[in-house]
Symmetry: C2
Subunit: 205 residues, 2 copies
DNA sequence: TGGCATTTACATTCATGTATGTATGCGTGT
DNA sequence: ACACGCATACATACATGAATGTAAATGCCA
């Protein structure tokens, strides 16, 4: 029964993307066919090929519905929301990214990106993450540099080292949590670890 | 020209595994066929099917040639090599794991495991890493608990939090480094970050 | 009625597994 | 020592299934 209204067509597009999230998450990207996705959404492959050029196109459309955590951090830092200083800016941006990640769709999509896919056509998530990571590291580094210049950092920690410590802790927490989201709360346990790190490297008054 | 000596047969087996590392690393696991691997080793699929049951079997044989970093850490900690205390045991075990990871084969295989594969038949690397991670976390936690009991940890840091901090930093460093091994030295930069973390949480005399 | 959304049908490609072919090393008997 | 026979270490050929992309058919809203 083809040809619904324009709004219904848009709804099936979203349903297809929802189905893609489900099946990708369960079976991995390369092992799921477009047939699987279509059937899971109650459609046939024809619907998929009408809305998307191919599997890679669908995959990227799925990615476009969420924001990368590192991109979120970059944006938050450059926006400097409610900053009481560069260290607090970094800390709040990190916690904000954790909150965003715990939203169901974000969690699903990023789990797929991290643990359920290797390559998709000629564009690979590793390169994408690589650029994001180095961009983010640079923004964080500038922030720590500013904190250092303002005398907010303890002497033992150089801005570069602080950057690596924070960045790796964020990456490790996200990576571990996405592998088993039920094993701990990213916002609570992860947030506490981040808080402790900032507590340790902040110069005490 | 079939039937080489037993030693030569073993050599082709190793050559096939070497080829698998190369091609998996370049194209990802799911996108490489056994034909690709065989051709890259100068053989045909017949050789592959002689030495291995199928792709999954070959993949696991490839994994068996290296040791998991987290397993290395677990072994080092339980062996307590040259320990001057629980904190130093943890620190040295971590640095040792970093050293092991920088060996070419280890680097290649773990890059494949982290960034070039999603599922292989019915056994998936995520589950494998998951069990290793929780085992390792438990061993590390006991070590930090002992350090706490001996008064080696500063008061602000509970053993559980220290465990999460160390574990996530290790995971993040390894993850980031494997994504771009040339961008920094795991042993040097990563080691410095780890050293700094232990410096920060150790009670000063 | 015409163009939009979707299904159905079809051709092609590709990886896999298996079956078969084949030449060689190696043990065995004498 | 030497020929014989077999198991070994591969290569080749083939059958199968699965996924992809596309073209034609179909129904429905406007």
């Amino acid at each position: 029964m083809p040809r619904r209204t324009k709004a219904e067509a848009e709804a099936t597009r979203e349903a297809l993307l929802d189905a893609a999230e489900d099946v990708f998450l369960e079976k991995g990207v390369s092992r799921t066919s477009l047939e699987h996705i279509a059937r899971h959404a109650g459609m046939t492959r024809g619907a998929v090929y009408w809305h998307f050029k191919n599997k890679a196109d669908l995959f990227h459309a799925m990615l476009d519905r969420v924001k990368m955590p590192l991109q979120q951090i970059i944006d938050d830092i450059t926006a400097e929301r409610q900053a009481t200083g560069p260290l607090d800016t970094l800390r709040l941006a990190t916690l904000h990214a954790f909150e965003m990640l715990e939203r169901p769709r974000s969690c699903r999509v990023h789990t797929i990106l991290m643990h359920r896919c290797e390559f998709i056509s000629d564009i690979n998530p590793v390169e994408l993450q690589n650029r994001l990571a180095s961009d983010c590291r640079e923004v964080v580094r500038r922030c720590f540099q500013q904190a250092h210049d303002e005398g907010l950092l303890i002497d033992e920690i150089a801005p570069d080292v602080a950057t690596l410590m924070l960045h790796s802790m964020i990456g490790g927490l996200v990576h571990d949590w996405l592998r088993a989201p039920d094993s701990f709360s990213l916002r609570e346990s992860g947030g506490e670890a981040i808080d402790r790190l900032f507590h340790l490297i902040t110069r005490r008054a």
